[in-house]
Each structure stands twice: as structure tokens, then as C-alpha cells.
């Protein structure tokens, strides 16, 4: 097999997937994501209790939460609710926000990046200067500020996260688009009389797909962390809707006596963010040769 045919081979999506599955860490990440996804989807059936139910026997006689290991597998929280149930429902919140916020910021970032990269001149300059401006914003501070002032619903939290998070994607897409726009095959298309829309959607966008996939995956990890942080500070997803961050927020005052209420949801956030990071990083390695091999 020559190098050229090998490149073509790799461009097929199923072979990229196969290469991904050869990486242990990526498989570990995929399994974790799969577990969280299943837990979130089937929460109503898997969960032993109702997430809002305050069990009479869920507290000790002194009114303290129960540690993990008894009738309530992961213990109970300050109000006597089952922690395992709330973790399962919290997975829904994390994934919904992770995917929605990241999807939105990916769309904004790609649109800004592709426009700025393809239309040089004043449009490109204005957009990239604006992106520079956004880079100078302390993102977390801005997000906390926005979230605190709105009384946030799930969707507002997602929007706030998207608004502070699109900048990185825009920069990467901008760099890629502007180098693509210089290529001969784009010039050829222009000479053949292809419309701008056709060049953008048929010729530029498909080449950006690997980058979008990689940044999309890594970005979910960032959004999951950001949601957890906002909810931990009490300005993200509002109780009683369970989120891994707000479970910690609600129980933080009691954390010396009941550390599981902080560290079990904390571990869940870490594992989910880690999973998306591992898969994203492996995707970058797998898809990268394809990027170099294109032309």
C-alpha cells in the first residue's frame, strides 16, 4: 500500500473510529460518557427514589445525613434525600447544559471564525478585533456576574456559558479558514465561477469538520466544569433541580461531617470532564494526519 492510498483510507470516517477505538484512554473516556448518558436517560427507571423526596428515615435521630453504604447506597443529603438518585438526575442537567451550551458556542465560534477568515477586509478585521476583546475578559468572572444577575434557568445558564466560551473556537476556525482560503483549489473554484455560498459550504466547511469535532468534544469538558462551578457558587442551576454543582452548594456547610456530599458529586464532575478531554485529545491525534494529508 502506498502512502497516498493510506491517506485516502484514513479519510474514511469508519477507519478514524477504528483508530480511536485502539486507544485505551479514549475507550475509557467513551465508556464513561456512555455510562453517564445511560444514567441520565434512564434515571427515572434506575433511580430507586424520587429526587425531591425527603425520606423520614433518611436522617439520623439527630437529623444528620446518612453516610453511604446503607439502604441509601450513596447516603443521603441534608434534607434526607437519596444522593444516588440526585446524582443520576444531576447527570441529566450536566449533559443537557454541556451539550446545549457547547453546541451554541460552537455555532457562534464557527460562524465568526469562518466569516472573519473568508471575508478579509473590514468584516474580518472587526470580527477578529472583537474576538481579541473577548479574550481579555476574565471569562469566569463575567459568567458569574451574568448568571448572578439573571435568576438563572437551565437555558440561561447554558446561554451564559456559550457567550463566554465561543472565543477559542472562533480563533481556531479563523486560522484554518484563512489558510484554506489561500489554497489553489479554492482559487480554481472561484475561476470556475462558483458562488461564495458554494465555496463556503461545499469546499471550506467540510475541511473544518475534523477541527469542529475535536473542539466540540474538548469544549463539552469546559462547559461541564463551568456549569458545575456556577452551580457550586449558587448562581447556576437552581435547587431543587439537581445538578452536581448545586448538590455541593447545598451541602457545603456540612462538609466536614458529611464529606461524601461534596466528594461524590465532585468526582462525578471530574470523571465526566476527564472523559470528554480524553476522547477529544484522542480525536485530535486520530484526525490530525487526515488534516495534513488533505489537498
Amino acid at each position: 500500500m502506498t502512502d497516498a492510498t493510506r491517506q485516502v483510507e484514513m479519510a474514511k470516517p469508519d477507519s478514524a473510529l477504528r483508530r480511536l477505538l485502539q486507544r485505551k484512554l479514549a475507550v475509557f473516556g467513551l465508556v464513561l460518557i456512555g455510562l453517564v448518558l445511560l444514567g441520565a436517560i434512564f434515571a427515572p427507571w434506575i433511580a430507586p427514589y424520587d429526587p425531591a423526596e425527603q425520606h423520614f428515615d433518611g436522617l439520623t435521630l439527630e437529623g444528620a445525613p446518612l453516610p453511604p453504604g446503607g439502604v441509601y447506597i450513596l447516603g443521603t443529603d441534608l434534607l434526607g434525600r437519596d444522593l444516588f438518585t440526585r446524582i443520576l438526575y444531576g447527570a441529566q442537567t450536566s449533559l443537557i447544559i454541556g451539550v446545549a451550551a457547547n453546541g451554541l458556542s460552537l455555532i457562534i465560534g464557527t460562524l465568526v471564525g469562518i466569516t472573519a477568515g473568508f471575508f478579509r477586509g473590514w468584516i474580518g478585521t472587526v470580527l477578529m478585533r472583537f474576538t481579541d476583546l473577548m479574550m481579555a475578559f476574565p471569562a469566569l468572572l463575567l459568567a458569574i456576574c451574568l448568571a448572578a444577575i439573571f435568576t438563572p434557568s437551565l437555558w440561561i445558564v447554558a446561554m451564559v456559558i456559550a457567550l463566554v466560551n465561543w472565543v477559542q473556537t472562533a480563533r481556531v476556525i479563523y486560522t484554518e479558514t484563512s489558510s484554506l482560503a489561500e489554497r489553489d483549489f479554492i482559487a480554481a473554484e472561484r475561476i470556475l465561477g462558483a458562488s461564495t455560498g458554494r465555496i463556503l459550504f461545499r469546499h471550506i466547511l467540510p475541511h473544518l469538520v475534523p477541527t469542529i469535532i475535536v473542539w466540540g468534544t474538548l469544549g463539552i469538558s469546559t462547559t461541564v466544569l463551568l456549569e458545575a462551578t456556577l452551580s457550586f457558587l449558587g448562581v447556576g442551576v437552581q435547587p431543587p433541580t439537581p445538578s452536581w454543582g448545586n448538590i455541593i452548594f447545598e451541602n457545603q456547610t456540612y462538609f466536614q461531617a458529611a464529606p461524601w456530599l461534596v466528594f461524590i458529586p465532585g468526582a462525578a464532575v471530574l470523571l465526566l470532564a476527564l472523559a470528554f478531554n480524553l476522547v477529544g485529545d484522542a480525536l485530535r491525534d486520530v484526525l490530525d494526519p487526515l488534516q495534513r494529508g488533505r489537498d
Binding site: P138, L141, L225, I248, P259, F263, A267, L274
Partner: protein
């Protein structure tokens, strides 16, 4: 060089101007009313209107903003709505604590990250390398508040080695600095590893080996200094990440810096303080980026400033 510096300086000033405009605008249109916070729930409509007029909050947006900007050019960040103190005084009082924490955090992450990166590069493909790279993934994925609380629980609550929070002695800074250091170390170890791997492949390292120098000497005298410089240059950019994250760590450890100040101000809609902290953080980010760009040509003479 001077021309480049001047242009970047003007650019940075424009960016800060833009940041101030956007922040002011967002705070203006958001549905939170600072006057209600000041007047309290029981205040009459008349009192509310009076306070609004006193603070100039009854004016249209552009009037308010240009007034703020005029003050800004004279170094005046305004007065806190609730405490009636100059914002610059409040920030000035808090800034040293934040800078201390930042310095300690950056030192910790450099020590951890660089040594992990070097160890990984030297054991490339072996078990230690794999372990260190997985560790770097974990630190990059760990939420700040979880790491803060974990360190707090283990080393302050259980072992009692360090105080649970507060400010003052060296013991107080260890856990917050360690939190920031652990979290930041992942990026540095990955960068250091790839930089070191690249340097170890170069001809001058092969020459040094061929001369018969010991492995330790080749690594310490020839490889390390060259590999470390591009990584050090990233500190400027790192400042931005720090400024964002400082809110959480300061609030968990009760560290009296500008992050805590901002968090309190946000909860009370004390707009001048929020503006002030945002601008100071943005300035730190801009200066950090500027430094990173200015240092680059000294580290790699092939880079020319344009």
C-alpha cells in the same frame, strides 16, 4: 521595536476601553436594580427615586458611561454604592493578597508542571510517562472547588496541618496555592514534555552526546535551558486563566483578595466594584499577553516583532 511596543500599547488601551464599554453596557441592561439593594425593601418610592438621582442612575446609558469614562481617565474608578468608599481604595487594599496568591500559585505550578514534563519526556513511552500524562489530564479536568475542598478536608480538617482558611501566615497560603498549582500544572507538564522531546531530537543534543558528555550534563546543561524557555513564555498567558479562577479559590479559602471582593459585590449588585475588578483583571490579562509577546524574541531570536 519601539514602534511595535507603542502600537501594542495603544491596542491594549483600546481593548481595555472595549472591555469597560461592554461590561458597563451589560450591567446597565441587566434586570438587577442596585438602588433596591441600597434602599432596602421597606424604602418608599420617593427614597428610591432620590438615591437613583444621587447616584446618577436616572441618566441615559451614554451619559452614565461617559461620566464613568471621564473619571477613569483621571484614575478614578468611582465609589462603591454600598460602602461609599473609593473603589480604587478597596481594590488597592485587596490586590496585594491576590498578587501573593498568584505568585505562590504560579511558582507551584511551574515547579510541579516543569518537573513532571521533564520526567515524562525522559521516560517517553514508558510507564512513568503514561502515568504523568494521565495525571495531567486529571488536573486539567478537575473542578477548582472540588480540589480546594479536597485539600481542605484532608490537610486542614483531618490532619490539621494547615488552617481551614484565612490570611496572614505562610501556613495560610499553602493550600490555596497548592490548589492553583495542581490545577495549572497539567498544562505546563504537557507543554514542557513536548518542548523537551523536540529539543532532545535536535542536532546539537546529538553532538553533545557524541562528544561523550554524561547524560546528566547533556540534559541539565544543553537540553533543559533550551526546552524550558518557550514554556516560561506562556506565563504571561497564564495570568489570564488565573484571574478568572481566583474567585472560586478565594471564596473557598476565605482569602481576602479581589476575587472575594468581586464575589461580594456581584451578590449585592455593587456595580462600581464589579466594573473595577473586571477592569483590573482585564488589564492583568492584557499586560500578561503583552509580556508574552515581548519576551518571545529574546527567547527565540528568529521571532521578529512586527
Amino acid at each position: 521595536m519601539a514602534g511595535y511596543f507603542l502600537r501594542r500599547l495603544v491596542q491594549s488601551a483600546l481593548i481595555l476601553l472595549g472591555v469597560s464599554f461592554i461590561t458597563y453596557f451589560l450591567l446597565f441592561i441587566l434586570p438587577a436594580d442596585p438602588v433596591r439593594q441600597i434602599a432596602g425593601r421597606a424604602a418608599t418610592a420617593e427614597t428610591v427615586a432620590n438615591i437613583r438621582e444621587q447616584l446618577g442612575l436616572d441618566q441615559p446609558f451614554l451619559v452614565q458611561y461617559s461620566r464613568y469614562l471621564a473619571g477613569l481617565f483621571q484614575g478614578d474608578l468611582g465609589r462603591s454604592f454600598l460602602q461609599r468608599t473609593e473603589v480604587s481604595t478597596l481594590i488597592g487594599a485587596r490586590l496585594p493578597a491576590t498578587l501573593q496568591l498568584m505568585a505562590a500559585g504560579i511558582a507551584t505550578e511551574l515547579v510541579l508542571g516543569l518537573s513532571m514534563g521533564v520526567a515524562a519526556a525522559l521516560t517517553r513511552g514508558k510507564a512513568l510517562d503514561n502515568f504523568l500524562m494521565i495525571t495531567s489530564f486529571v488536573t486539567v479536568s478537575a473542578p477548582q472547588f472540588v480540589v480546594s475542598l479536597l485539600l481542605l478536608y484532608v490537610f486542614a480538617v483531618k490532619l490539621g496541618w494547615f488552617p481551614i482558611g484565612g490570611y496572614g501566615t505562610f501556613a495560610h497560603i499553602v493550600l490555596p496555592a497548592l490548589t492553583l498549582g495542581l490545577l495549572g500544572s497539567g498544562w505546563y507538564s504537557r507543554m514542557m514534555r513536548s518542548s523537551m522531546v523536540e529539543v532532545l531530537r535536535t542536532d546539537y543534543i546529538r553532538t553533545a552526546r557524541a562528544k561523550g558528555l554524561t547524560r546528566a550534563r547533556v540534559i541539565l546543561r544543553h537540553a533543559l535551558p533550551n526546552a524550558i524557555l518557550p514554556v516560561i513564555a506562556m506565563i504571561g498567558i497564564d495570568i489570564g486563566i488565573f484571574m478568572g479562577g481566583i474567585v472560586v479559590v478565594e471564596s473557598v479559602f476565605g482569602w481576602p483578595g479581589i476575587g472575594q471582593l468581586a464575589w461580594q459585590a456581584i451578590q449585592r449588585v455593587d456595580i462600581p466594584i464589579i466594573m473595577g475588578v473586571t477592569l483590573v483583571s482585564a488589564a492583568a490579562i492584557v499586560i500578561g499577553n503583552l509580556l508574552a509577546d515581548l519576551i518571545a524574541p529574546f527567547i527565540d531570536p528568529r521571532i521578529k516583532l512586527r
